[in-house]
Each structure stands twice: as C-alpha cells, then as structure tokens.
Symmetry: C2
Subunit: 685 residues, 2 copies
C-alpha cells in the first residue's frame, strides 16, 4: 500500500514566530480558503458537528475533501473511524456527533504530527474511560488551591452576563484531547457554590462547554443544607436534609439539563461529612446518589481521608473504605488518589485499586504540580501515571487501569479524574512545558495504552516543533524528568518532606510549633534517627504493606525483596544497609541526590540546544525555568543530605561534590507564598 | 577510657618510595631494633609461633612489649584475643599456635590501619569458615587457566630441589588474611598431578606452607586410575579402582601428613567422572571420601556441571545435585559457584545454596577476573561476594553465608573457596588494584560480616596510603567499581556475551562456526530478537526461576516483580517494556551502558588526583589501567548497543553520545590471546 505523508507544513510555517503559548498544542495555521468539508445527508447538524466542520474547514490541509457521517453502526461510545478512500476523501464516521468532533481533532492531530494513512486504509479509535474529568480546585474568590498559573479562569464576578472567550478556548483544548467533564470548583467546597446565583453563573459556563462534549460537575460541601439551607442538620438520613438536596438538584437540572453530578470531599481535613452524624461514607454518598439518579447524575466520593489519630495516614483510606465495598449505589464512584498518601513525587499505587471488587473506583491524578516543582520544574507526569495505571494489583490479575475500567454493574460508568493545572496566565499553565501534563492526562484517559514516549512526541510536535532535532532530545528530557525529580527530591520512597503548607522546596525539618497535626510534619514520614531512615510499614510497623494483595504484601513487607524505589516507604532502613548495587543506603542517598542534580543540569543544557527550534518568548521563559530547576535540585540535595547527615553521622562520600548551601541558612529560609500562589522565579535560598 | 592511637608511621615513612607492588598489603617498615616479644612459659615454641614472634619483632612499633600465650581456655578454632594491659603490654592469646600467628597479623593490621585499643581493653576475633581455601588453576606446564598475572608461581621443574622464596611470601600473605588452604593445581586436572614425582614436588611446597597454617590440597582427575594407574576402568565401585586410590592416598599422606584432600571437577566440560560408568556424583565423591577419611582428608566435589543437551545450563546443577542431597559422606563438601552459570559480572545466587539441607555446601568465588576485565579493569569483588553471601535463600531463613556455615553433621566442616588471581608477576596479581580481591577474599572468609567499605579501607590503607585524601576517594572507586563494570558489560541480568574462549571484551555475536556447543555461544544467553532481549526462565521458559524458594520463585518468575538487576536473566523482555523509572528497556539499556562508561571515566579522573599519595611506579601502572578500562567501557557500550540495535530496530536516544566504533569493525576485531594469557595493555579495537 502506498503511504502518503499528510501535510505537516502548518507547524513549520509558524516556526520561530513570537508565541505566547496561549494556543497550547493547537497551533495549526488557519487556512486562507476553507477546506472542503461535507456532512453526509442524514447526519444531524448539531452544534457539536458544526464545530467539527469549522475546525476542519479552518485547519485541514489535505488534498481531498473530508466527509463526516453519523452512522448507527459506526463506532459507539464517542469512538470514531477515519478512512482514506480511493478518491482521496477522508471519511470520518461515528455513532455520535461527539464522536465526529473527536474524529476531527484526531485527523488534525495526525496532520500535525505527521501520521500517515494509506489509500483504502481506515483507523478506528474509542475512549477507554467513560468519564474523563478535570477537577478544578478553584475558589469562588478566584484563587486556586495548588494553582500555579495565575488565578481561576472562571470570572464569577462577570458571570453570567459576561462570558470570557477563554471558556470556549478551554473547552476546545479539552475536547481536542478527549476530556469530557469538568468539576468547576474546589473539593474544599464552599456551600455558596450551590447558591442560586452561583448556579446561574455555572449554567452559563456549562452552556459554553456543552457543544464541546464537556459536562459540568460541581464539588459540594456536605453541610450545605445547614450552611445554605438553614436546616439544623446535614444528617444524610434526615428527611428534611434529603428533601433539601432534592430541591437543589432539581434547580441545578432545570439550569443545566446535562449536569454531570457532584464531587464530594467529606470528613477529610476538616470538611464536614456524614460521620459528623454517626453515618458512614456510604450513607452520605448514597443519599446524594439517590437524589441525583433520576437525572442520571453521579456522585464522585473521595477516599482521601485520614485522621490525626490514625497510626499511619497511608493506611486509613483502605481501612475506612474496604468495609464499605459493595454498599454504594451504582451511580457512586469512589475517587481514589493514585497513591496512599497525597500526590507525592513517587508512591506505590493505592491498595484500594483492585481491592474494592463491588464498588466503582476512579483514579485521581494531580496534573497540577503541587509536589513536583509547581510551574517551574519540568516533570512530565505521564511517566508516573503510566507507572500507576499499568501496576499489577494481583486482584484477579487486574492492573490499576483494568480494575478501574471494569464496571461493577450494568449501570456503572468508568471514570478518571485529574486535578487541573490551568489558570488565567496567558499560556494557561504558567510553564509552557507543563501544558504537556494537561495534554497527556487527556490522551491517557482516552487511551491508557499509549506510551509516555508517544504522548511526549505528540505533545512536542504539536506544541513546539516536529523537527526530529527538537523532538529527539526533548522526548528524552520529558521521559527522564520524573525519575530526575524523584531523585533530587524524594528518592527510594521518601515522601512528604516538603516545606510546610505551600510544598515548594525541601523542609525535612519543618515544624511550625504549636499543636500541629503530627501527620502534617515531614518527620512523621521520613522518621530519620541515628539508626536509619524511612517509615516502617511492615508487620512490625504500621502494617501498611499488608494492605496489598499477595505477592506484593510479602514483596513490599520484606526489606530484602522490597523494590528499591519504595524502600523507605515501607521500611525503616539502617544507614549502613547495603543495597543492590553494593553501596550503603547513606552512600546511595548521596549519589542519587547528586544524580538528580546532574539530570536537572543536563535538561538545562539540552534546552540550550533547542534555541533554533523555539520562538524566543517560549525559549527564554523555559530556559529560565530549566536553569531554576537545576538550582532547585541543588537546594533539594543540600537540604536533604545535610539534614539527614545529622542523623546518619556519616560523611558525604569523597567523590560527592561539597554542598553549596549551609544547613542553618536553608533552615532559616522561608518562601513567602501560600497555598494559592506559585513560587516566584526570582527568589531562591 | 583513654584511647591511644597505635603508631601508623610505618606506611608514611615508606610513602612515595618506588615500589613494585611485591609487598602487597604487608608494607610495614622493618624495625632497626627488634621489638620486645615474649612467649609465655608453657606455650610451645612451634614453627608457627616462631613466625609470629619474628613478625612482631620485625614490625611491631608499639611502646610496650608483646606477650604471646597459648591457653587451653583461650579462643578456640584458631581464634584469638588481643588485650592491652595497664602495663602497656599487648597480650595475644589463643588456644592454638596458629591462632597466635593470626593474632600477630591482626595486631600489625591494627597498627597499619590506625585502629586503637584502650588500656585494659581486649578484642577477640575468630574465623567464620573452618576452611578458607584458594584454588589455583595452575597447570604442570606453568600456564594458568584464567591467569592474568604471568605464569604459575609453582616452579615444578625446579622442585623439589629448589624452593622459591616466593612460596613463603605467598604463605605469609595468605596467613596474614586468614587463608588456610591451597589447592595447588587446576580443576581441569592432569592425571600426572598424582605421579610420585609430582607428589614429591607438592610435598616440598606443603612444607613451606605448613608453618603458616596452610594446608595443601590437590585437584584430581577422576580417570587417574586408568591414565596413571593403568587400570582398565575408573569406575568408583570397582574394587581395583578403590584400591588404587587407597595406595595413592597412602603415598600422599606419607609425604604430606596434613594433606587437606581432593578437589574434583567430574563430568563437566569434558572431564571424566563417575557418570562415565553409570554412577552418580555421590558414588564418585563417596568412594574418594572413604579413602581419605582415615587420614582426615576431605573431598570438595564441584557442582559446576552442564550438558549441551540441557535446555538451560543455569538449571542443571540444581537438577543433578538436589536428588543427591543427603547421599554424600560427611567428609564431602559440594563446591558450588556463586551463580548458576559461571562467575558472570552479576548473577543471582545459585539456587543450590540453602536448598541442599543434608549436604555440606561451600561457595566458590572467582578472585581472578576471568569475566571482569582480567588484570586491567579495577573491579572490587567484595561488593559482589557480599551481595551473594548476604542474599536470603528463604530456606529456613538462612542467608547464603548461614546456609554454608551451618554444619550438616558433627563431623562436617564449613568451607569456602576462591579461584586465585596470583601469578609470577612482580606484584603477584598483574594489577596492583587486583590485590584488593585477594585481600578481601581472605578477610571475608574469616568474617563475612565485614562490609565492603571496611575491606576497602583496610586494603587501601595498608597497600597504598592511610591518608584520608587517598582512602576517601579510592574507597568510593572500589565500592562503585562492581556496579560500574556490570553497567558497561552486562546490565539488567545479561550474561555471557563475552568474546569467545578468552572472555576479554564483548562479542555478543560470537559464533566460530562448526559444531560448537550452543551453550558456549552468547546468543544462547542473550536471546536477542525483534521482540526483545533476555533468557526466559519463567514457567513458560526454562523454569529456572522455580528452583528458588518462595517468595523468590514468584518474585523472579514474574516480570512485574523481578528485581531489575536480574530482569534479562529471568525474562525475555520486549524492547518497549517500561521499567520502573518510566523508560523503556531499550532506552534504559542505552543509558546504563553510558552510565558505565561515565563511571569508568570517573575512576580514571579520581586516580589522577591520587598522584601525591602513590609511588610513581604503581601510580603509572594503575593509571594506564584506569585509562584503558575507560576505553574498554566504550568498546563494550558500542559493541553491545550496536549489536542489539540490529534486533530492536530503535534509534539511540537523542541524548546518548554517538558510538565511537562501527559494529562491523568491532566484529572483525579479534584479540589474539588464549585462555592462559592476559589481554595486553597495548591492543584495542
């Protein structure tokens, strides 16, 4: 079969023109004359189909015409096929108009990355997860919790009257990577979010998102019936409470007929919940689910729970939720963070994946880099997400992906969520390179079988340059970036040794004094002492390893078989313990922190060679970030090694470079930011 | 307690004086006036005690006198104690004269490395393994199989009349590190070794070794009764055969009353054995054991067996020997190589360790660097040996060390062997740095609990300089050297992809043509194809993983839990398989080979900084070796990556340096050496 390269000229034409990053990966050149696009007779012209037509007319560069057809026997579940006919027509087929829109973006992606289709050849594609959702931790006041790209894109003050053009650009970007849902507000939800006023504003946004196939969801405060409804209780078994929710949900659906449902953070970090009334998570979730069911709405109930009284925070979600397995309604999905603690640089997967056999479970990833250098460090998270999704749970031989894609009932839907890294900065994500995580999250929800390398390639080619001189080196930078960050931040299973509150930079010593919860202190996690380092989660310790299915339980629970990337997660390891390369824990710790520094410096050097391929604005912006990342890596290395050295009492190996900083200086340094602002590019210890 | 630093001046005085390396780690300055040494009344003045006295008179620099005493209630099994009295006397006590000699070397070692003993303080020490044996693969013609330091030190032609002074220097060096046995000849033994003429020569060597507490052993050819005795058979159950052995053993013990026993390689690589007569290894070993028993001699019977017909060479020792467990006499020890194949850069431990519950098993290490850069590359093997000895077998919770130290009967002795790296070159081992492996082997047999770092420190301080400016960097070079060599030679469990026959340099493509055994070809081990790389030893493959005790059997047999250092040992892994750092096998392979190159270059750079601490002769000799090692690492990298690339079809990652060599040039290159000569320092591809 003769292969024809689809045109890739668009991105080359735009090369080196000054860019602000606002176009994300959608940098096709607009056609001077519209491409020929035909909607087959019988295919209904919905708003969604119209968008597909417009996108192709504007950006398709192929010789032949494009034909769109909705066919009952076409790919279902918003899947699509793209075929190239003998007459050089590209035929896009789906069972739904939404599928045609995905097909249009699929065809344009092929064009931009240089994928080819032979005459007579057809490719098909369909999404894996039913619901592919972004969680915005945006507050009504415009701040974003863990947002590092400015303020919220939602202009609540101007809504519903004024609708920012960015909403549609947001919807388009999401649709182009297959995202089909958005929770607009923070999981730490204000009752206010359900006020009639706010719902009208929400409806205005939903109207913009709808044609792009994106459903709107809201986080709700479980105490809303009290705080907003004036009821004396929010007890989920109280009839008045239930009735209040019925009324509120009716109101929502009158405004937003395709409203998706609620996301709930309950009885977690001070948020109200059913346990306040002696009820279980299932009681709370099911009440809301029953209210939403007539409207086909769902409840996403978060399993992110931990109490200061628990001996091990990492164990608690499993302890609280496993007894409730099978007690949730079909339209409840338990939303589980990828790891047992909290979006750390590297965690083993949550033991709830695969273990809950009778409850629909959805993974929650964090696209925003709360713990991974915010909008300064380049850390391509697809590598980490792949690690989690492809992890074998050993429950019925299911990977995490398989366990969460499996539907526990005929009524269930599969779902996956990511906490967005989007703000009102001109390039959406603060760092141009962080757009890769938004992109990869969407694509991975669509197809978890894509490799991190494929995801990197697609992103780099569309967003920067398809030149192999650029893609080759930068692909490797992205692929190595996660391991690098883990190496200079928290290698070998170390976790949560961040600066207090804002989580930028190292503070393994952090202790603000007073009655702070122990499980908010780094020392709770690293447990450094004169003997060694790490959290003992063996049988002799917290028992966390036993929450995994065999053989993982044995594997993790035994120091001699525990994978070294989780060594200090599961074990308190003596400083002189000899690891698999024959070196001690202490020596290896010194070397791996330095390895991380070397990697970060390497990235900065590689980027310097990318100048010919990137416009000046984005080149300089990113250069400053790579340079800063390399300096931060040194900060991390010095802080952690000098701090832990107080416990190990051991010298740095003679061939490790001497620290740049003094521990006492680092301990005095405090970055003056809160949980809603990004670390600046100017300040450094 | 006041601590007094024992004098460390000796090694400083000699610093930078031209040295030829012949003094090994025994570089104490001889006293102008003998130190005061007193042998307590009642302690018998044996030749061994006399040596202890002489060594202390010549080299002890302490203020007070040294007292030697054999006491019935002193430390047994050649152990000793060293005490410092109020009167500033050092009192050396043991239950044996041999223990006093070890005590003398122990005291001198403390002096040289700067260890201190307080007034009134006593330290005790005792050997772990009963028998600590060097195996010389030396042939009667003076060649050494896998010898890289010249020819054999045994001058058979001159013996028994002329006894080289090197024999005593050899004995002294061994005694100083606790070695107490030597098998003088190659396991591929000539029948000639047992001729009356050769036995008289052997006895002359034994006479020199004896006062140093070193017993003499011989390798025997199982067909000796035929070849030497003229019998029609060597069937171990034949009465005449047995009688021949009785006569021969009587002859030996008349000449060498403390003769240690036999080492036997039978039915392996073409050597004769009991299977030639339909008998088992046990039949053969027991016959010899019965003959030796009246003289208290032992049989060390090697388990290094594999047939070309076996589907997996790595499985065969276990398959042949496990059914014989418990069938051996008490004075038989089955000698098992550390890994299932053959002294490769990195292997999992042999599954026979711990599995044979009713047979005494002894580990066999290779001190000579057949597969690890011969006498050119610096590879400190203590790190590898520690890895093996401390590996958990999961049989009754025993490590490899515990399993081989445990005595299966009251008559059993524990033993450990190392194939010597000693030849007639002026510095004994060809490479000055390779002396470290001889040193560490002895010390580790004495005390397997010593860390690789301790062993490195002791060696470096005594052999080169006790200055921390030297010891600090070089300690790290030694400790990192094994991992480095594995990285640039055979990472991730690759094995046996060496050049044919001589095993220096890479030849993953090696195939001399003709009827060569498949299991002598690299392709038998690496199994590279378009799918991936590595030997499938899972249940679907050869089943080798199942020879390990649970949980190792499951751990190794599952690609997802297999430790990555053994990945390609147990699995045929797809090129695109994503490893734990998020990168594919192919990318990781490219990076780790380059990591190995970087390490080797780093070692060369560190050595350049050592010039102030080392005499010119040894500095330059070692510099040439480190430089060559770095070049060889590039050779390895290019050969392996370019060769495997033919199968993977994948490009090198963009940030990997381009190859220096061309594959076709490397494939044309042949090093003109045999199994008895070392690679020269001048030739390179």
């Amino acid at each position: 079969m003769r292969l024809v390269v689809l045109l890739v000229c668009a991105c080359f034409v735009s090369l080196l023109r000054a860019e602000d990053g606002s176009r994300l990966w959608l940098r096709m050149e607009r056609n001077a004359d519209a491409a020929e696009v035909r909607v087959e007779r019988g295919t209904k012209r919905t708003a969604t189909v119209d968008i597909a037509v417009r996108e192709l007319e504007d950006y398709w560069k192929g010789d032949g015409k494009v034909v769109l057809r909705v066919a009952e026997d076409g790919p279902a579940r918003d899947g699509f096929s793209i075929g190239r006919t003998e007459k050089e027509e590209m035929v896009l087929t789906s069972a739904s108009g939404q599928g045609l829109l995905y097909a249009a973006y699929g065809l344009l992606r092929m064009q931009q990355v240089g994928d080819t289709l032979g005459v007579g050849q057809t490719v098909s594609d369909a999404p894996a997860y039913d619901l592919r959702i972004l969680n915005h931790w945006d507050n009504p006041d415009g701040t974003i919790e863990r947002g590092y790209a400015g303020r919220s894109i939602w202009q609540w003050d101007e809504l519903p009257g004024t609708v920012s053009p960015r909403y549609e650009a947001y919807a388009r970007a999401n649709a182009s990577v297959g995202i089909n849902g958005a929770v607009l507000n923070n999981v730490n939800a204000k009752p206010l979010a359900l006020s009639s006023d706010m719902l009208r504003k929400t409806a205005a946004i939903a109207d913009v998102l709808r044609p792009y196939g994106i459903r709107t969801y809201l986080s709700v405060n479980f105490a809303s019936p009290k705080a907003l409804g004036g009821l004396p209780t929010a007890d989920p078994l109280d009839a008045d409470v239930r009735q209040w929710w019925v009324g509120k949900v009716d109101e929502i659906y009158r405004l937003i007929p395709d409203f998706g449902g609620f996301l709930v953070k309950a009885n977690s970090e001070g948020e109200p919940g059913p346990q306040d009334y002696g009820r279980t998570h299932a009681d709370g979730a099911n009440m809301l689910a029953d209210v939403l069911a007539p409207h086909k709405g769902i409840v996403m109930w978060r399993a992110f729970v931990y109490k200061p009284s628990s001996p091990d925070r990492a164990c608690q979600a499993y302890e609280e939720f496993m007894p409730l397995d099978g007690k949730f309604r079909d339209n409840v999905i338990v939303q589980v963070k990828n790891g047992p603690v909290d979006f750390q640089p590297r965690e083993p997967f949550s033991p709830l994946f695969g273990a809950m056999r009778h409850t629909q479970v959805m993974p929650e990833f964090q696209v925003t880099q709360e713990y991974l250098g915010q909008s300064i460090h380049t850390v391509f998270l697809a590598t980490m997400w792949k690690d989690v999704l492809s992890a074998q749970t050993y429950h019925d031989g299911e990977t995490v992906a398989a366990a969460t894609l499996r539907k526990v009932s005929a009524q269930s839907v599969s779902a996956i969520a990511g906490v967005a890294n989007i703000g009102d900065s001109e390039n959406w994500t603060g760092s141009d390179m962080a757009q890769a995580n938004w992109y990869a999250f969407g694509r991975l929800c669509w197809n978890p079988d894509m490799s991190a390398a494929q995801l990197a390639d697609e992103f780099l080619k569309q967003t920067f340059s398809a030149d192999e001189g650029f893609v080759g080196p930068m692909r490797q930078v992205l692929l190595r970036s996660w391991d690098a960050a883990v190496s200079y931040m928290m290698p070998y299973g170390l976790h949560h040794i961040f600066a207090g509150e804002h989580h930028y930079g190292p503070e393994p010593w952090y202790h603000p004094g007073g009655d702070i919860r122990l499980d908010w202190l780094p020392s709770y996690y690293h447990r450094a002492d004169s003997v060694g380092l790490g959290f003992d989660r063996t049988r002799e310790g917290s028992g966390g390893a036993a929450q995994y299915h065999e053989p993982l339980s044995t594997l993790y629970g035994d120091l001699r078989t525990c994978p070294e990337e989780y060594l200090l997660w599961f074990h308190h390891v003596p400083w002189s313990y000899v690891m698999r390369n024959g070196l001690t824990l202490w020596d290896n710790l010194c070397y791996i922190y330095n390895h991380g520094v070397d990697e970060a410096r390497h990235f900065a050097t590689v980027w310097e060679g990318m100048r010919p391929y990137v416009d000046a604005t984005r080149y300089e912006r990113q250069k400053a970030r790579f340079d800063r990342q390399a300096k931060d890596a040194v900060w991390w290395r010095d802080a952690c090694l000098l701090y832990f050295q107080q416990f190990s009492g051991l010298p740095l190996p003679a061939d490790c470079p001497p620290p740049v900083h003094k521990l006492k200086d680092l301990m005095k340094y405090h970055l003056d930011i809160d949980n809603y602002t990004a670390a600046g590019m100017d300040k450094l210890p």
